[in-house]
């Protein structure tokens, strides 16, 4: 018989005037995997945070095993057998897996019997098929191993309901498959699992039912066997959406950027990039794939002059054929040399934009130096702001409204709009659609394709392999700061790229 592990009734949560959740009701049964699906900002994480005791609902009821409960803190959540695995892991680097797992628990005696603890945990890991070395320190672990520690930690604390917030965002396709196997075993064991994600094929692969949120409201729950990617997207977005990305054939690709033996060290002297060599062509989109932290950030920042590196970065102006060496330059020098390079960094408000300023102030980031006067030019940035607002459909009360307060999609439109406005020859984007809703994501892909057709060399660092495979012309795979392969995106497969992402490359 199926019993409800958790039932939510009429949950509301407001942040200021924004309704993060409004009248949300859903149930999770024992021995079931429920996908919680919704676009960014639809209130999935907020809802789950109320189950794990981080937020407190403004109104509504929560039932665990049929009894109404109040969850005021993470401690209450533990006591009720609710465990949440967050996107950002909460582990102590210097401790081993086992130490992290028992951290903060009240044992029977004041002395820790490590042998007994290890036996207990091993029983648990064997039961569900986790691969985990309990004596390994967290700092030696891969992202997937850390995630395993988090899951085991929750099970060891007796969690009967596991909530996983975007667990596959940081995993390779192979690691994802393994995670899903483990989750299925837990389901057989009678655990209830909620998985938050916006990757549709994963929803279809793993879950029994799907609950959908849109703009903080509960839209409905469907059985996965009756759903398709298209039907789920429609529920999520509220309208019909076309789910394919254009990929025009490159026209007369010309060499634009040639990187040779680029090596770059982080502040501890460890190589973040290790003799990386590749060429980016004008009129082409070069995708860059890799597990988070494989050197993507360093690569783009070094080209943009924000980090020091050794080797050679040769920029060739596709029109004039003029060549410039970018190694050892800072952004100001690059700008003064007339190299038209645009960069949409990963940290939009922390690096590309000034959060407290309105749109004109943010346009000035690229242009405030123009003119000889000590005073700022006010008119042009204002005109550019109006233009971007209209062309890209930025939704803001006024162009002078601080960009920090705008939604992620609008922030990204402002940033991309500004960078494109300079008619760049080279456009680098890092995680350009992270956190954006589906419609905005597609308008960003469209903008990138437009730039490509105008002969711009586009470098697209992405995390969603499906998108990389559909959008790019070639894909460069980074692994541990080295290039583990450059493949033709039209012929390669997801599995091939996935393998390259974890291959600590001997050959390039």
């Amino acid at each position: 018989m199926t019993e409800n592990a958790i039932e939510l009734k009429g949950i509301c949560k407001y942040f200021g005037i924004v309704a993060a959740n409004e009248d949300v009701s859903l149930t999770v049964r024992k021995g079931e995997i429920l996908s919680l699906l919704g676009e960014n900002g639809s209130g999935k994480t907020t809802l789950m945070n109320m189950l794990s005791g981080i937020y407190y609902p403004d109104s509504g009821q929560i039932f665990v095993d049929g009894k109404e409960v109040t969850i005021r803190s993470p401690k209450d959540a533990y006591a009720l057998g609710i465990g949440m695995i967050h996107q950002h892991f909460k582990l102590i680097d210097l401790f081993t897996a086992a130490e992290n797992i028992i951290l903060g628990m009240d044992g029977k005696s004041p002395v820790i019997n490590m042998k007994e603890v290890l036996e207990d945990i091993s029983k648990l890991t064997d039961r569900y098929g986790f691969q985990l070395d309990l004596n390994k320190k967290v700092y030696d672990m891969s992202v997937s191993e850390k995630q395993t520690v988090e899951i085991v930690k929750m099970l060891y604390r007796g969690a009967n309901l596991l909530i996983l917030d975007e667990p596959t965002a940081v995993l390779t396709p192979q690691e994802t498959d393994h995670l899903f196997e483990v989750l299925r075993k837990m389901r057989e064991d009678g655990k209830a699992i909620i998985i938050i994600t916006h990757k549709l094929h994963e929803v279809l692969a793993i879950s029994d039912r799907v609950s959908i949120l849109r703009k903080g409201r509960y839209i409905g729950t469907v059985d996965t066997k009756d759903a398709t990617a298209l039907s789920l997207t429609e529920m999520m977005v509220g309208e019909k959406v076309a789910l394919n990305i254009d990929r025009p054939e490159p026209k007369h690709p010309k060499k634009c950027l040639e990187v040779k033996n680029l090596t770059c060290r982080n502040k501890y002297g460890v190589k973040a990039l290790d003799s990386v060599s590749f060429t980016a062509m004008g009129g082409e989109i070069l995708g860059i794939a890799g597990i988070a932290g494989s050197g993507q950030k360093e690569l783009l920042e070094t080209i943009a002059g924000l980090q020091d590196g050794e080797g050679s970065i040769l920029f060739t102006d596709p029109d004039s054929g003029k060549e410039e060496e970018l190694i050892g330059m800072d952004p100001l020098k690059i700008q003064k040399m007339g190299v038209s390079l645009a960069f949409v960094p990963e940290d939009r408000l922390g690096m590309g934009l000034v959060g407290d300023m309105g749109m004109p102030g943010n346009m000035m980031v690229r242009s405030y130096r123009s003119g000889h006067s000590a005073l700022l030019e006010q008119k042009k940035p204002r005109e550019l702001s109006e233009q971007i607002k209209n062309d890209l459909g930025v939704i803001t009360p006024s162009i002078h409204y601080p960009v920090r307060r705008l939604s992620g999609g609008n922030v990204q439109k402002i940033l991309v709009g500004r960078e494109i406005a300079n008619t760049p020859k080279l456009l680098m984007t890092a995680y350009a659609v992270r956190g954006l809703d589906i419609n905005t994501s597609y308008s960003i892909y469209h903008l990138l394709n437009e730039q490509k057709e105008q002969g711009v060399a586009v470098i697209y660092v992405g995390e969603d392999l499906d998108v990389l495979l559909e959008l790019s012309d070639r894909i460069l795979v980074l692994c541990g700061g080295k290039i583990s392969g450059i493949v033709d995106a039209r012929t390669t497969t997801k599995e091939e790229v996935g393998l390259l992402m974890t291959k600590h490359g001997e050959e390039a």
């Binding site: 924004v18 109104s59 109404e68 924000l306 952004p331 980031v365 130096r369 000590a374 005073l375």
Partner: protein, 373 residues
Amino acid sequence: MEANKHKEPFVRIVKRDRIPLWIALLIRLAAILLSLVVCALLIYLITHSNPIQVYRSMVDGAVGTGRRTWNTLRDTMILLAIALAITPAFKMRFWNIGAEGQILVGGIATAAVMRCCGDSLPTALLFLAMIAASLAAGLIWGLIPAVFKAHWNTNETLFTLMMNYIAIQLTAFFSIVWEAKKGSGTIGTINQKTQAGWISTSFLSDIFGNFNYSINLIIVLSITVAMFIYLKYTKHGYEIAVVGNSENTARYAGINVKRAIMRTVALSGAICGFTGFLLVSGSSHTISTSTAGGRGFTAIIVSWLAKFNPFVMILISFFLVFMGNGATQIASEFQLNESASEVIIGIILFFILGSEFFINFRLIFGKHGKEAR
């Protein structure tokens, strides 16, 4: 059904998204009124005098006579000048709490020029030398921590704080070197006979008549306008705002962050030094360790409460000085000691700063507390 586990939190704190201006003003006004009520209660408990009487004497103490009004205005201008001085640094998120020291070294430099060149230089040159010396001294005092911050990322709060103590010791040292009477340990009035280097005797006062503090007024109000323009409309001002918001964005924009830090804090220090000149040449004609009198710290409150808007700072400086001078009057009129006025100012500040909490957050009582939209 209601298990004993099922309890509601009594109160929850929720961040406000935005707040209409008039409500924010109302909250602040309420805070001031509330602080006055608490002060009245306190005064009544101690002196048993009529609180309204007490507040009347407070107003009387601040603006009761022409002279008191001018004193209040003069003090307002000094506090305003310091607040303006620290604003560029604070806007850049450089926590300069070294205004005290920067004022003192500016004052020492002014006093040194007055003593050494008071008799030899013509008035115009003497003033130029005094101003230049005070600017340079404050600039150096600000630049030292800025250089360390820019190049080695030292903590500027601790650094500027320690620079204050060095400046205080320096002042104490010169109080002995230059002491008026052997063993007195104070400098006494500089150039008492010639009044050389006093703003009140300078050729300027012929233009402005008896109320020579109006020179202060004009100078500081000019700085106010200049600072407003500098922060809002110049390229330097833009760089300050960008660096303060995000150093990475600043680097991305090609701003030389090190140079921006050093330039801005040097400017901040120089204006503090200039305030030292205003204090020594314009009002006290001497210097002691208490010349800055904690105003370097009060100015931080002024600058923050004004959200770095120079024109709002005029109002806030005036309010704080008005309260301060009024409280001093209460203390003397009702035979309370000096600390009583500090207690009163402390209570008022507590309420004003506390009201910022209610402007940024709101409280919800019980589970089904209605959401104010």
